[in-house]
Symmetry: C2
Subunit: 121 residues, 2 copies
Protein backbone atom coordinates (compact mmCIF):
# COMPACT_ATOMS: atom_id res chain seq x y z
CA UNK A 1 0.00 0.00 0.00
CA UNK A 2 1.57 3.26 -1.13
CA UNK A 3 1.11 6.39 0.94
CA UNK A 4 -0.43 9.35 -0.78
CA UNK A 5 -0.12 12.68 0.99
CA UNK A 6 -3.83 13.25 0.56
CA UNK A 7 -4.69 10.09 2.44
CA UNK A 8 -1.81 9.78 4.87
CA UNK A 9 -2.63 7.84 8.02
CA UNK A 10 0.76 8.04 9.65
CA UNK A 11 -0.56 10.61 12.10
CA UNK A 12 -3.30 8.27 13.22
CA UNK A 13 -0.71 5.72 14.29
CA UNK A 14 1.63 8.36 15.61
CA UNK A 15 -1.12 9.83 17.76
CA UNK A 16 -1.47 6.57 19.66
CA UNK A 17 2.20 6.39 20.57
CA UNK A 18 2.80 10.05 21.28
CA UNK A 19 2.92 10.96 24.92
CA UNK A 20 5.88 11.21 27.17
CA UNK A 21 5.26 7.84 28.81
CA UNK A 22 3.22 5.75 26.41
CA UNK A 23 6.00 3.73 24.83
CA UNK A 24 7.38 2.79 28.23
CA UNK A 25 3.95 1.85 29.56
CA UNK A 26 3.27 -0.34 26.53
CA UNK A 27 6.65 -1.95 26.85
CA UNK A 28 6.09 -2.89 30.45
CA UNK A 29 2.69 -4.35 29.67
CA UNK A 30 4.07 -6.26 26.70
CA UNK A 31 6.97 -7.59 28.69
CA UNK A 32 5.33 -8.30 32.01
CA UNK A 33 1.73 -8.96 31.01
CA UNK A 34 -1.07 -7.83 33.26
CA UNK A 35 -0.08 -5.24 35.83
CA UNK A 36 -1.77 -3.31 38.56
CA UNK A 37 -1.84 0.46 38.58
CA UNK A 38 0.64 0.63 41.43
CA UNK A 39 2.98 -1.86 39.76
CA UNK A 40 3.02 0.25 36.62
CA UNK A 41 3.69 3.34 38.67
CA UNK A 42 6.71 1.69 40.21
CA UNK A 43 7.81 0.38 36.82
CA UNK A 44 7.88 3.83 35.26
CA UNK A 45 10.08 5.94 37.50
CA UNK A 46 9.24 9.61 37.55
CA UNK A 47 5.70 9.37 36.26
CA UNK A 48 3.02 11.01 38.34
CA UNK A 49 -0.29 9.39 39.17
CA UNK A 50 -2.06 11.90 37.02
CA UNK A 51 0.03 11.23 33.95
CA UNK A 52 -0.18 7.48 34.40
CA UNK A 53 -3.95 7.73 34.59
CA UNK A 54 -4.09 10.01 31.56
CA UNK A 55 -1.91 7.90 29.34
CA UNK A 56 -3.67 4.70 30.37
CA UNK A 57 -7.01 6.30 29.55
CA UNK A 58 -5.74 7.36 26.14
CA UNK A 59 -4.53 3.88 25.35
CA UNK A 60 -7.71 2.32 26.65
CA UNK A 61 -9.75 4.67 24.50
CA UNK A 62 -7.94 3.38 21.43
CA UNK A 63 -8.48 -0.23 22.45
CA UNK A 64 -4.76 -0.83 22.89
CA UNK A 65 -5.01 -1.79 26.53
CA UNK A 66 -7.72 -3.22 28.72
CA UNK A 67 -8.71 -2.00 32.16
CA UNK A 68 -10.16 -4.44 34.62
CA UNK A 69 -11.60 -3.15 37.87
CA UNK A 70 -12.05 -5.41 40.87
CA UNK A 71 -14.87 -3.93 42.91
CA UNK A 72 -13.32 -4.30 46.31
CA UNK A 73 -11.80 -2.25 49.04
CA UNK A 74 -9.09 -1.20 48.70
CA UNK A 75 -9.56 -0.96 44.94
CA UNK A 76 -7.61 -3.13 42.55
CA UNK A 77 -7.27 -2.27 38.89
CA UNK A 78 -5.36 -4.31 36.37
CA UNK A 79 -4.14 -3.25 32.97
CA UNK A 80 -3.13 -5.44 30.07
CA UNK A 81 -2.45 -5.24 26.36
CA UNK A 82 -5.37 -6.24 24.20
CA UNK A 83 -5.01 -8.73 21.41
CA UNK A 84 -5.45 -5.83 19.03
CA UNK A 85 -2.89 -3.77 20.90
CA UNK A 86 -0.27 -6.37 20.15
CA UNK A 87 -0.45 -5.34 16.50
CA UNK A 88 1.61 -2.33 17.55
CA UNK A 89 4.50 -4.50 18.66
CA UNK A 90 6.21 -4.74 15.24
CA UNK A 91 6.12 -0.98 14.94
CA UNK A 92 7.54 -0.48 18.41
CA UNK A 93 10.30 -2.94 17.61
CA UNK A 94 11.07 -1.21 14.33
CA UNK A 95 11.22 2.16 16.02
CA UNK A 96 13.41 0.86 18.81
CA UNK A 97 15.79 -0.63 16.29
CA UNK A 98 15.85 2.52 14.20
CA UNK A 99 16.33 4.67 17.29
CA UNK A 100 19.20 2.53 18.50
CA UNK A 101 20.91 2.91 15.17
CA UNK A 102 20.13 6.60 15.04
CA UNK A 103 22.11 7.24 18.20
CA UNK A 104 25.10 5.60 16.56
CA UNK A 105 24.52 7.57 13.37
CA UNK A 106 24.50 10.85 15.23
CA UNK A 107 27.68 10.00 17.07
CA UNK A 108 29.42 9.18 13.80
CA UNK A 109 28.17 12.38 12.25
CA UNK A 110 29.43 14.49 15.14
CA UNK A 111 32.83 12.86 14.92
CA UNK A 112 33.11 13.82 11.26
CA UNK A 113 32.00 17.36 11.95
CA UNK A 114 34.57 17.73 14.69
CA UNK A 115 37.33 16.53 12.39
CA UNK A 116 36.14 19.06 9.83
CA UNK A 117 36.20 21.82 12.38
CA UNK A 118 39.67 20.92 13.57
CA UNK A 119 40.95 21.18 10.00
CA UNK A 120 39.58 24.68 9.80
CA UNK A 121 41.67 25.86 12.76
Amino acid sequence: MKIEPESCRVDDALGILVGKWKPLILLHLLKNGTQRFSELKRSVPGITQKMLTNQLRDLEEEDIIERKVYPQVPPKVEYSITEYGRSLEPILNAMHEWGTNHIIHKREKMKKENVGNERKL
Copy 2:
Protein backbone atom coordinates in the same frame (compact mmCIF):
# COMPACT_ATOMS: atom_id res chain seq x y z
CA MET B 1 16.68 -7.21 19.16
CA LYS B 2 14.38 -7.25 22.15
CA ILE B 3 13.34 -4.02 23.79
CA GLU B 4 14.09 -3.67 27.45
CA PRO B 5 12.35 -0.84 29.29
CA GLU B 6 15.66 0.30 30.71
CA SER B 7 17.14 0.79 27.27
CA CYS B 8 14.14 1.73 25.18
CA ARG B 9 14.95 3.79 22.10
CA VAL B 10 11.43 4.09 20.75
CA ASP B 11 11.32 7.71 21.92
CA ASP B 12 14.42 8.53 19.91
CA ALA B 13 12.68 7.48 16.71
CA LEU B 14 9.38 8.96 17.81
CA GLY B 15 11.00 12.30 18.45
CA ILE B 16 12.05 12.58 14.82
CA LEU B 17 8.54 12.01 13.50
CA VAL B 18 6.64 14.01 16.06
CA GLY B 19 5.51 17.39 14.91
CA LYS B 20 2.24 18.37 13.41
CA TRP B 21 3.62 18.48 9.87
CA LYS B 22 6.68 16.26 9.75
CA PRO B 23 5.10 13.12 8.33
CA LEU B 24 3.47 15.08 5.52
CA ILE B 25 6.68 16.93 4.70
CA LEU B 26 8.62 13.68 4.59
CA LEU B 27 5.99 12.09 2.42
CA HIS B 28 6.10 14.87 -0.11
CA LEU B 29 9.87 14.72 -0.29
CA LEU B 30 9.83 10.96 -0.60
CA LYS B 31 7.21 11.05 -3.29
CA ASN B 32 8.29 14.06 -5.29
CA GLY B 33 12.02 14.14 -4.66
CA THR B 34 13.78 17.46 -4.34
CA GLN B 35 11.49 20.40 -3.67
CA ARG B 36 11.87 24.09 -3.15
CA PHE B 37 10.67 25.78 0.01
CA SER B 38 7.75 27.38 -1.78
CA GLU B 39 6.76 24.12 -3.44
CA LEU B 40 6.65 22.41 -0.07
CA LYS B 41 4.61 25.25 1.34
CA ARG B 42 2.05 24.79 -1.41
CA SER B 43 2.13 21.02 -0.96
CA VAL B 44 1.25 21.23 2.72
CA PRO B 45 -1.93 23.28 2.91
CA GLY B 46 -2.38 25.22 6.10
CA ILE B 47 1.22 25.24 7.23
CA THR B 48 2.76 28.60 8.03
CA GLN B 49 6.19 29.68 6.87
CA LYS B 50 7.40 29.60 10.43
CA MET B 51 6.29 26.05 11.04
CA LEU B 52 7.62 24.83 7.73
CA THR B 53 10.99 26.37 8.54
CA ASN B 54 10.98 24.90 12.05
CA GLN B 55 10.10 21.39 11.00
CA LEU B 56 12.58 21.43 8.13
CA ARG B 57 15.31 22.57 10.52
CA ASP B 58 14.46 19.77 12.93
CA LEU B 59 14.64 17.16 10.19
CA GLU B 60 17.85 18.61 8.81
CA GLU B 61 19.36 18.56 12.29
CA GLU B 62 18.73 14.82 12.45
CA ASP B 63 20.24 14.26 9.03
CA ILE B 64 16.91 13.12 7.58
CA ILE B 65 16.75 15.81 4.94
CA GLU B 66 19.29 17.94 3.14
CA ARG B 67 19.11 21.68 2.57
CA LYS B 68 20.78 23.15 -0.47
CA VAL B 69 21.02 26.91 -0.82
CA TYR B 70 21.60 28.55 -4.18
CA PRO B 71 23.28 31.89 -3.48
CA GLN B 72 21.28 33.99 -5.89
CA VAL B 73 18.63 36.63 -5.92
CA PRO B 74 15.85 35.90 -5.42
CA PRO B 75 16.95 33.08 -3.12
CA LYS B 76 16.41 29.46 -4.01
CA VAL B 77 16.54 26.68 -1.44
CA GLU B 78 15.96 23.03 -2.19
CA TYR B 79 15.15 20.26 0.23
CA SER B 80 15.53 16.55 -0.30
CA ILE B 81 15.57 13.31 1.66
CA THR B 82 19.03 12.05 2.51
CA GLU B 83 20.08 8.51 1.80
CA TYR B 84 19.99 7.95 5.55
CA GLY B 85 16.57 9.55 5.79
CA ARG B 86 15.16 6.90 3.51
CA SER B 87 15.72 4.39 6.28
CA LEU B 88 12.61 5.88 7.85
CA GLU B 89 10.44 4.86 4.92
CA PRO B 90 9.61 1.34 6.14
CA ILE B 91 8.50 2.76 9.46
CA LEU B 92 6.35 5.40 7.80
CA ASN B 93 4.78 2.73 5.61
CA ALA B 94 4.12 0.48 8.58
CA MET B 95 2.52 3.33 10.50
CA HIS B 96 0.40 4.33 7.54
CA GLU B 97 -0.80 0.79 7.14
CA TRP B 98 -1.49 0.40 10.84
CA GLY B 99 -3.26 3.75 10.94
CA THR B 100 -5.43 2.88 7.98
CA ASN B 101 -6.48 -0.31 9.68
CA HIS B 102 -6.98 1.45 12.99
CA ILE B 103 -9.62 3.71 11.50
CA ILE B 104 -11.52 0.63 10.41
CA HIS B 105 -11.01 -0.98 13.80
CA LYS B 106 -12.44 2.02 15.59
CA ARG B 107 -15.46 2.12 13.31
CA GLU B 108 -16.17 -1.55 13.99
CA LYS B 109 -15.77 -1.02 17.70
CA MET B 110 -18.20 1.90 17.71
CA LYS B 111 -20.74 -0.13 15.80
CA LYS B 112 -20.61 -2.84 18.45
CA GLU B 113 -20.91 -0.33 21.26
CA ASN B 114 -23.92 1.26 19.63
CA VAL B 115 -25.62 -2.11 19.29
CA GLY B 116 -24.89 -2.72 22.95
CA ASN B 117 -26.37 0.61 23.92
CA GLU B 118 -29.48 0.04 21.85
CA ARG B 119 -30.07 -3.23 23.69
CA LYS B 120 -29.94 -1.38 26.98
CA LEU B 121 -32.83 0.88 25.97
